[in-house]
């Protein structure tokens, strides 16, 4: 499981984004994000000023990781959801299957109850969509095609030499 890159193809990405947009609308939230459990942002919908979504994804994954360990310590398999309440902005995090985190950021235009309700429905959709993504990755592993190749590596190394220096 651990060295399988998460590869998202166009048709899956479109479906995932459509489901995310629907969740954003129906939960009346400010932003919704899908984050890989290792801390990488997969995609998001909505906006909150100049919020750094990459930082948010990393911290959300860390939050889930720490909470999962707490759960294990207490004899639970997982805590299925985390909610943080702010004065104006709140955040709800939940796991989709084993690898994906759904983050919903909302304010007084929504409510925790509504977010929970919509997240429950959306989670089933995302579980199905990501099952398809992972199945394709597994199928690709058996193929011969090298997906990025030498040209990419050479170009990337040039950039690295250019940027990673004093």
């Amino acid at each position: 499981m651990s060295d399988v890159s998460l590869r998202v193809y166009e048709e899956d990405f479109r479906s995932i984004n459509l489901s995310l947009a629907k969740l954003l609308r129906e939960s009346r939230s400010r932003a919704v994000l899908l984050v890989d459990r290792s801390g990488e942002l997969i995609t998001f919908q909505g906006e909150i000023g100049r919020l750094d979504f990459i930082a948010l994804a990393t911290l959300a994954a860390s939050d889930i990781a720490a909470t999962s360990e707490l759960a294990r310590l207490l004899g639970e398999k997982e805590f299925s959801a985390i909610f943080h309440q702010g004065s104006y902005i709140h955040i709800h995090l939940s796991l989709i299957g084993e690898r994906i985190i759904l983050v919903v950021i909302f304010d007084e235009r929504s409510s925790l109850g509504l977010v929970r309700l919509r997240v429950k429905t959306a989670s089933e959709e995302f579980l199905h969509l990501f099952s398809s993504v992972f199945a394709k990755v597994e199928a690709q592993k058996l193929g011969e095609e090298v997906l990025l190749g030498e040209d990419f590596r050479r170009s990337a190394e040039e950039e690295i030499d250019n940027l990673f220096r004093d």
Binding site: S2, G39, E159, L163
Partner: protein, 195 residues
């Protein structure tokens, strides 16, 4: 475990700086953050104690730009080095694409380096990784101090795999970018040959 989004044409790779407490992991990231082209870096996050010891992790996102149509990012993390933070170290290693093992070259830290090296192997193994197969470089840090072990001796004890190694004085930046370039290229080689 790189994230490759063929639809949005993005590649994200995770590099983890590992090593015993106070070996120079955070110092590496801070140096990169301070020196690198501002257009390349994002916000650096440090979850640390009041005395600036890493509590959970440091995080620094770097963006190389668009390469062959792919927006390519390297995300740098450090782990907390102190022994009792092993749970956190394990969590941060999840999804790692490459590791920089930062060694404190001082004689009196030798045992801790060895323990951290074994700890890396064990924690990688829990995630299904093999320390002998994952992209890895070793950085022998603090080469400016008087009571250090020779690189040859450190290599004999740690570098059985004969991975690339670099001498460094991270606090002054020496060896920091050399190390980062090396691990990034190793990851790219792995990625571009992966099916």
């Amino acid at each position: 475990m790189a994230l490759i989004n063929y639809s949005s044409r993005e590649i994200n790779c995770k590099i983890v700086y590992y090593g015993c407490g106070l070996s120079g992991k955070t110092t590496n990231l801070q140096y990169v953050y301070n020196k690198i082209n501002p257009a390349v870096k994002g916000k650096m996050i440090s979850l640390a104690t009041e005395t600036d010891r890493t509590l959970f992790f440091d995080f620094l996102p770097l963006e190389l730009g668009t390469i062959r149509g792919f927006r390519t990012r390297f995300h740098l993390y450090t782990v907390p080095g102190q022994v009792h933070y092993n749970v956190s170290r394990k969590l941060i290693l999840r999804g790692v694409d490459g590791v920089v093992f930062v060694v404190d070259s001082q004689k009196e830290r030798f045992q801790e380096n060895l323990e951290s090296w074994e700890n890396l192997r064990a924690n990688l193994s829990e995630h299904g990784y093999n320390r002998e197969k994952i992209p890895l470089v070793i950085q022998y840090n603090k080469r400016d101090l008087p009571n250090i072990l020779p690189v040859s001796e450190l290599n004999r004890s740690l570098n059985h795999q004969q991975v690339p190694y670099f001498e460094s004085i991270a606090i002054h930046g020496m060896g920091v970018f050399d190390t980062l370039r090396a691990i990034s290229k190793l990851i790219l080689t792995e990625l571009s040959s992966r099916k």
